[in-house]
């Protein structure tokens, strides 16, 4: 054990009833790359037999200087980097960043663009929750539901591919708009695939939700109280699992979420099983939102998807090749990008893991002074020792899975 660790917590007295059965404490290094965790993180665990006495979580293995890179390019050049934050739901990160920049630019995007962004966000959230629940089953040695989950995730990725041509790192959202509109054939194939996703979710539910082994591993493990959640600034499904209906989409509606009909599911106990149920219900709600988006987009019909603001507008390609002014504007947009007014702004959206915020500082130039991402994975991971102290080592696995720490976002 290295000397810079501080592992000294005592076992709570009610767990301490086995007298002589206690062993000499041992230190176990788990990770950074462990088959039972999805995410690159190292745990230094102090164990008494199989019981966790204390835990030190060491993150940073995927640190690649996101903020430093953003500060040395243009505002546009940040967008592909945000894809690589939470790579399970890349579009949500795009949306968060672009909305924050739009807040500083004080521009509003066209209605069709906002619905497209909601559609893309919910597809992303669906994919993220499918990965989380599927991978959690896999790490509890249940292979079949994992395959159902991943098959459904493939379908959400197909839909994302039809939106923007990329499956994982989408780079779909632009400052002041989206990359392009959807094709007329999108609605039909989307409804087909959504029906298939619903079937797979049903299969998933049949195999997992009432499964005795799964329920035993999930119920009563990783419990956290409401007070601790709020003190640790935990958001997302974990906070909702303790019964706090906090959702940025409802509390501070952005885009067109105030026009959409959906519910915020909450749990009661705040254990892993509640988190699982919250995620499952959120997937159903996402499907509900996607249905409404498709209907609305069909009803709106073709229209502009980009903002008509000279600072962020890209000229029509045909004009770029034939007119001097558009050529110059294209050149300026590519080489320099928008100049964002001087000031600072924070904008938060509800990502799959919780509140994803961007705090931006601009000095009025085309280069950001500061791009801070408020990473829900990082902040939700901090109370992990609190959740597993005194529990069995095996309980660490589902608890960590449902925190859904994504290395790209946690370590930035």
């Amino acid at each position: 054990m290295s000397s810079d660790l501080h592992l000294h917590a005592e076992l709570p007295p009610d767990q301490d009833q086995r007298g002589d059965l206690h062993t000499e404490h041992q230190i176990l290094n788990m990770g950074p790359s462990h088959p039972a965790t999805h995410g690159t993180v190292k745990f230094v665990i102090e164990l008494d037999g199989e019981q966790v006495v204390d835990l030190d979580v060491q993150v940073g293995y995927l640190h690649r200087g996101f903020e430093k890179e953003c500060e040395s390019g243009s505002w546009y050049q940040c967008i592909p980097y945000t894809d690589r934050l939470n790579y399970n739901s890349a579009i949500l990160c795009n949306v968060g960043f672009c909305l924050a920049v739009e807040k500083l630019l004080q521009i509003e995007t066209p209605e069709r663009c906002q619905w497209l962004r909601v559609l893309a966000s919910e597809l992303s959230r669906l994919g993220d929750h499918l990965t989380r629940t599927g991978a959690a089953c896999l790490e509890l040695q249940a292979m079949t539901p994992f395959l159902y989950g991943i098959e459904a995730r493939e379908l959400t990725w197909d839909l994302q591919e039809m939106l923007c041509g990329a499956r994982v790192t989408s780079n779909y959202i632009r400052i002041g708009g989206v990359k392009h509109d959807i094709a007329p054939s999108y609605y039909g194939s989307a409804r087909e695939k959504l029906a298939k996703i619903r079937e797979l979710l049903k299969d998933f539910d049949d195999v997992v939700t009432q499964n005795r082994i799964f329920v035993d591993r999930m119920k009563g493990t990783g419990v956290i109280s409401k007070e601790d959640c709020i003190k640790y600034a935990v958001t997302g499904p974990i906070l909702r699992s303790v019964g706090v209906p906090l959702d940025v989409r409802k509390d501070e509606p952005y885009l067109v979420y105030d026009q959409i009909d959906f519910d915020v599911p909450v749990g009661e106990v705040g254990d892993n099983y509640d988190r699982y149920l919250v995620c499952v219900e959120e997937m159903q709600q996402s499907l509900r939102i996607i249905d409404q988006c498709l209907a609305k987009l069909e009803q709106l019909g073709p229209g502009p998807v980009n903002c008509d603001d000279p600072r962020v507008r890209w000229p029509a390609k045909g004009r770029v090749f034939n007119a001097m002014e558009e050529l110059i504007q294209q050149f300026k947009s590519v080489t320099e990008g928008p100049r964002v007014p001087k000031g600072e702004g924070y904008f938060a959206i509800e990502s799959a893991n919780g509140e994803l915020g961007f705090y931006l500082v601009s000095d009025g130039s085309a280069q950001p002074v500061k791009v801070r991402c408020r990473p829900p994975s990082f902040i939700n991971l901090a109370p992990l020792p609190l959740m597993v102290r005194g529990a069995m080592l095996a309980d660490l696995i589902p608890t960590f899975d449902f925190i859904n720490m994504i290395g790209g976002e946690c370590d930035r």
Binding site: N29, G60, K68, E71, K103, A233, E344, G345, Y359, V369
Partner: protein, 162 residues
């Protein structure tokens, strides 16, 4: 000092007017610039006051304004769950003594975020229980998000010691 219609800013002006250095509400975000020596008092007040109730420290970061005096700005984002309100509190710290009081006793969420700011900006948090690097490794030299740390600089990656 103006409160821009924000209850929290009004309460701060009333009770901690002496500790306030500036306020603004640009782009709709209520913001208070606070004397760094008073940060713990002001934050405790914002958490416990019945009209503010900022029970969540959502975000904590810093900005390096190289060339300005004082050089660094520590930025706190507060959120009130019962009132659904946000507030940004900032405090300037100098390059010579980059130190400010820790908020760990008020909100445990400050623990990791303060470690991150120490790691990347080199701002010390007085009274922090465990101020280690968090994203970078122990042997790393310097604080890379400082504006005078060159982006191209490379450092050898040291393997684990144990």
């Amino acid at each position: 000092m103006e409160d821009f219609g924000s209850v929290a800013l009004r309460r701060l002006i009333e009770v901690h007017g002496a500790a306030l250095q500036a306020t603004h509400a640009n782009f709709g975000d209520a913001t208070a610039l606070v004397d760094p020596a008073r940060i713990a008092d002001v934050m405790r007040f914002l958490r416990d006051d019945a009209e503010c109730q900022f029970d969540m420290l959502t975000d904590l970061t810093a900005v390096d304004y190289l060339g300005e005096q004082p050089r660094f700005e520590v930025v706190y984002h507060l959120y009130s769950v019962p009132r659904n309100k946000r507030l940004r509190v900032k405090a300037r710290v100098s390059e010579k003594t980059p130190e400010i009081a820790t908020l760990c006793p008020l909100w445990p969420s400050a623990n990791w975020m303060e470690r991150e700011v120490w790691d990347l900006y080199g701002i010390r948090f007085a009274g922090h229980p465990d101020l280690r690097r968090i994203l970078l490794y122990k042997q790393f030299e310097g604080h890379p998000l400082r504006k005078d740390y060159p982006k191209e600089k490379r450092q050898p990656l040291i393997g684990p010691q144990n």
